[in-house]
């Protein structure tokens, strides 16, 4: 008997197929559609499930759906009624999807799958409970489910025994631990339903002391937890029950500040909030679990629901509660409920005995060596073949040991959010630099083309000319201030393929498709949570969409300089001259502004003359006169001021003719007030001011650069255009336009495109707020990148040597669901996978689960002395984990993965510098 489970329209849609109680296939839709967290009907996942068993939809006896849609709709309506009229916006944006799909599930299933059989609807938390209990190793177990929200339930507990599940008690919406976590995730500037793990990862950086962390006490104000673990929220602190999942103003006040701008600096306050949240969650869960134990008196525990992905707490369950054993569904969040719905039908409703335990997560598609070699050959991909498995293991281990980054594509794809050794990227944890290498090579291919320039302390520079210790201009998005930071690392590599090109009057940017653009979307997407915030968005996602981009900065904190020291000249020869030396900086900047705009020098029969042109009628005449009075005596003749001074002459000589003019870099580092003096003087010269916009005209490329930098530092939005002269005797003219009005500029739909590029690409990393100030074709923008941690994998029999884990090691550790401390003596040896608090989110692997993976780790241990690898998911950041050989190859070529061990073949990146992004030629087979 085949039973199909389906979960969709909310978070991660998925499908799972049960054959006589055994899960034979399960996958999430995102892996096929390549849309992360895809919520659409899992048509591809269903197709895969059927194909894997060579059956058709007619062979399916029941389809199980993971929730009761009408019950959920009742809850949604209740929200709208209770919170009328505040919920109007969400009502309008969410109702169409209810009318079109969520309330028409049987019809949609029938239509999409041509299915005419029975569809059963399982309560959401029951599906969660079943997904964990019915496939667990336990005959009897206490059950806890905690997620965002199902129909009404947000937390429930009960007891499973044999094939029966009894969920006894619940906490009802709107109080929800899952939604609390998401709200704080949003508050901390991360994306909801995606980056909760980042908050968990941030928590050890905060104060983990309940007395000393001020936010712990504050957060206890919004939640009342009884001794039995039951809890309720004061909803004044939230808005998710009537609006999107943003924190309320009251919560912002409680937490001493506004919502963090994504990618702005994470301060100690943010870390403390993350720590406080984690402690509050742990305390509440511990109370709940102790209560559940008292009620059920059962030593075994299974948990499910999104909160069960909090592996930091999972690792503490057995030590903090009375439970002796714990099991967790590897796909603990909503994706896993398709397994739950199907198992519940087979075992509980139909009463079939349990005969299956989920020991691995390898339930997805697999590809035979024939299929893989067909793909490789067809696309003329160069590869070598391993002699046998032993060769595969030995060679792969050696490649990793030699610090190569290896894409590992073997067997069936993983079920659930983690890569567990079927679609993984493996690398050497003993290498001190591996974290940085991985971040740069694999996860952050965010590069600019070779014509892009970056603003450094020494002015604008091409990336290729950047030196190792260069300080580059970055934007602090919280304060909109320009801050110089020393670069940590610069990478450059050859690239050939598609790049994203943004071009209009104010923006000109050519970047790799995964490049992060600091942008704000204008188009209203009902599914977008942040509509009014700037956030990083991958360039490829912005093609043909309307958006805005940040442009200007607010303040510049330079150094106030009191005096300018004019270099003295040879005393012997000119001993009769009184030498100017200390000149008040304010005066000097003003003078220099006039000189650079209007001045020139001329040696005339022993006279060292300096001229500053200005007609008597000019409205600036008096001002310039006043300034010159403070510098040196002057004369006025035929439209020009004239100063004769050898010392000034010698200094000003360096500025040459009009086309060579520039502003000395050290003068661009003075305070904002002083820069303004310089700026105004320049504008009185060659500038015009019309309709709130300055326009500065110059024939000097260098000076145009300097004026741009000056403008940026003074908070202007800067654009530059160039008028190319047809006459070779004339210079090109640059027009720098500066205005304070618009701080952002728009890219319209038709102003972005994919173009082909072959050449070098570059990027740099800086310690914080990775918003670099770059320009291309004189158009200046801010754009940048960001980072994330890595996890270790170790064979189960070695785990307790390196980690302080529970004994016996819970099977949930095989699914990367537990965090345990790295043993003190090993921490320094495997820095890339050791968290700041000394813990690691490890995966244990047993040989029967994945022989090749297990043996590669062991073999690596023989070479390095430490049988641990870095295991990170095989994907480009922001994309789902790879599924097919095509995805894997594309990912390798689009990142810096050095080798790909795919089936019994080895592909070397360097051998295959093909035009990867011309993906049509690699179309899926």
């Amino acid at each position: 008997m085949y039973i199909l489970g389906i979960s969709c329209f909310y978070h991660d849609s998925s499908a799972a197929l049960l054959k006589d109680g055994t899960i034979v296939a399960a996958a999430e839709e995102e892996r096929f559609t390549r849309k992360k967290h895809d919520t659409s009907f899992p048509i591809n996942a269903v197709k895969y499930c059927l194909q894997s068993q060579n059956i058709t939809i007619k062979d399916i006896s029941y389809i199980g759906f993971y929730e009761k849609p009408f019950l959920k709709f009742e809850r949604v309506l209740s929200q709208h009624i209770e919170l009328f009229p505040y919920s109007f916006k969400t009502f309008v944006s969410s109702m169409p999807s209810w009318i079109n799909e969520k309330l028409r599930v049987p019809k949609i299933i029938k239509k999409k799958l041509s299915y005419t059989g029975d569809v059963l609807f399982i309560e959401h938390h029951l599906a969660h409970a079943a997904s964990s209990f019915l496939v667990s190793p336990f005959k009897k177990a206490a059950i806890l489910t905690t997620d965002g929200v199902g129909e009404w339930t947000t937390t429930s507990y009960g007891l499973g025994e044999g094939t029966e599940i009894h969920l006894m008690k619940e906490i009802r919406f709107p109080s929800s631990l899952g939604l609390l976590y998401s709200t704080i995730t949003a508050y901390l500037g991360f994306t909801v339903n995606n980056s909760e793990y980042k908050v968990m990862g941030l928590s050890p950086y905060g104060t983990m002391d309940r007395e000393k962390n001020p936010y712990y006490q504050k957060l206890t104000k919004i939640i009342d937890v009884k001794d039995d673990g039951s809890y309720r929220f004061d909803m004044d602190y939230f808005t998710y029950h009537y609006a999107d999942r943003m924190p309320s103003k009251k919560l912002c006040r409680l937490l001493d500040g506004p919502i963090r701008n994504p990618e702005s600096e994470i301060t100690q306050r943010h870390k403390d909030i993350a720590a406080a949240l984690q402690m509050l969650l742990e305390d509440t869960l511990t109370k709940i679990l102790n209560h559940v134990y008292e009620v059920t008196r059962c030593p075994n525990l299974v948990i499910a629901g999104g909160v069960a992905l909090n592996c930091v707490y999972n690792g503490k369950i057995l030590s903090k509660t009375k439970f002796k054993e714990v099991w967790i569904q590897p796909n603990a969040s909503d994706g896993g409920t398709s397994i739950g719905a199907a198992s519940y039908i087979y075992h509980t409703i139909l009463g079939n005995p349990r005969n299956y335990q989920q020991k691995t997560a390898y339930l997805g598609p697999e590809f035979t060596d024939d299929e893989i070699s067909y793909f490789l050959n067809k696309n003329k991909i160069k590869y070598t073949e391993f002699r046998d498995e032993k060769d595969l293991i030995a060679k792969t281990a050696r490649l990793i040991f030699e610090n190569n980054v290896v894409g590992w594509f073997q067997g069936r794809m993983e079920w659930g959010p983690r890569a567990l050794g079927a679609r993984s990227i493996l690398s050497n944890p003993c290498n001190l630099n591996m974290q940085e290498i991985l971040n740069l090579k694999v996860k952050h291919r965010e590069c600019y083309d070779d014509k892009t320039q970056i603003l450094t302390k020494n002015g604008w520079k091409l990336f290729k000319d950047l030196t190792k210790n260069e300080a580059v201009a970055t934007l602090n998005p919280e304060t909109n201030e320009l801050v110089y930071q020393q670069i940590e690392q610069k990478t450059e590599y050859k690239y050939s393929g598609k790049m994203v090109y943004f071009k209009n009057k104010r923006i000109n940017l050519l970047v790799t498709p995964e490049h992060n653009i600091w942008a704000k979307k204008i188009t209203n997407h009902s599914d977008s949570i942040y509509k009014n915030q700037f956030e990083f968005e991958k360039a490829i996602n912005l093609v043909s969409r309307e958006n805005v981009q940040i442009k200007a900065i607010k303040r510049w904190k330079g150094q106030e300089k009191k005096y300018f020291l004019l270099p003295r000249i040879n005393r012997k020869k000119y001993s009769h001259l009184w030498q100017l030396h200390k000149i008040r900086m304010d005066i000097w900047l003003e003078f220099l502004g006039y000189y650079i705009s209007e001045g020139c020098f001329c040696y005339d029969k022993g006279h060292h003359n300096i001229y500053v042109a200005q007609s008597l009628k000019s409205k600036h005449y008096e001002k310039i006169k006043k300034c010159l009075n403070k510098i040196y005596h002057w004369g006025y003749n035929s439209g020009s001021f004239k100063l004769s001074n050898k010392q000034l002459f010698e200094y000003l000589k360096q500025f040459g003719k009009a086309k060579d003019k520039f502003i000395p870099q050290e003068l661009l580092g003075v305070s904002e007030r002083q820069l303004k003096i310089l700026f105004e003087a320049l504008m009185r010269g060659d500038g015009t001011y019309r309709s709130k916009q300055y326009k500065y005209t110059t024939v000097s490329k260098k000076l145009a650069d300097n004026v741009q930098e000056l403008g940026l530092k003074l908070g202007y939005s800067v654009t530059t255009s160039k008028e190319v002269s047809n006459n070779p005797n004339h210079n090109d003219v640059y027009y720098v336009r500066l205005n304070k009005g618009s701080k952002t500029s728009y890219i319209r739909k038709n102003q972005s495109s994919l173009i082909y590029y072959r050449g070098k690409v570059y990027c740099v990393t800086v310690p914080k707020y990775n918003l670099l100030c770059v320009k291309r074709d004189e158009k200046i923008v801010f754009s940048g990148n960001s980072f994330r941690p890595f996890a270790p994998v170790v064979c189960e029999d070695d785990a307790s040597k390196y980690f302080e884990c529970d004994t016996p090691i819970p099977e949930a550790t095989d699914f990367m669901l537990m965090v345990y401390p790295v043993k003190e003596k090993w921490r320094a040896k495997i820095p890339a996978v050791t968290h700041v608090d000394g813990s690691g989110r490890l995966q244990t692997v047993r040989r029967f689960q994945n022989k090749l993976y297990h043996d590669v780790i062991k073999e690596f241990g023989k070479l390095s002395g430490i049988p641990i690898l870095i295991n990170t998911s095989f994907n480009i950041r922001g994309e789902p984990i790879v599924c097919t050989p095509y995805d894997a190859y594309k990912c390798m070529m689009g990142t810096g993965i050095d080798y790909l061990a795919i089936g019994k073949f080895l592909v070397k990146r360097e051998d295959n510098q093909n035009d990867l992004w011309d993906s049509e030629i690699y179309a899926k087979d």
């Binding site: 009761k68 919170l83 309008v92 169409p96 059963l120 619940e170 004061d234 409703i349």
Partner: protein, 85 residues
């Protein structure tokens, strides 16, 4: 060359019509939904408030002994699972 321009104009026209259609759909939807919201949901809300019926628990209740409420989800007859509620 001419064919190309014609084609461009045609697809442009088609896209224009399509976008126009989308905008109209969104407009009509919004108007209808606004009507349903302010009449349907609004009236229900007034009734709920008059009858002091609380649909959501929005406030803490410090003196309550527990916030657990009975769920009692157990195996039910097969027919029950055909229902979407």
């Amino acid at each position: 060359m001419k064919m190309d321009t014609l084609k461009k104009i045609f697809t442009g026209f088609k896209n224009g019509i399509k976008n126009f259609g989308n905008i109209i759909t969104i407009l009509i939807n919004t108007v209808l939904l606004a009507f349903v919201y302010f009449v349907g949901v609004g009236v229900s809300s007034i009734f709920a408030k008059l009858s002091r019926k609380k649909l959501l628990e929005l406030k803490l209740s410090k003196q309550a002994p527990t916030y657990w409420s009975d769920l009692g989800l157990k195996k039910k007859p097969l027919e029950d699972y055909y229902r979407q509620f």
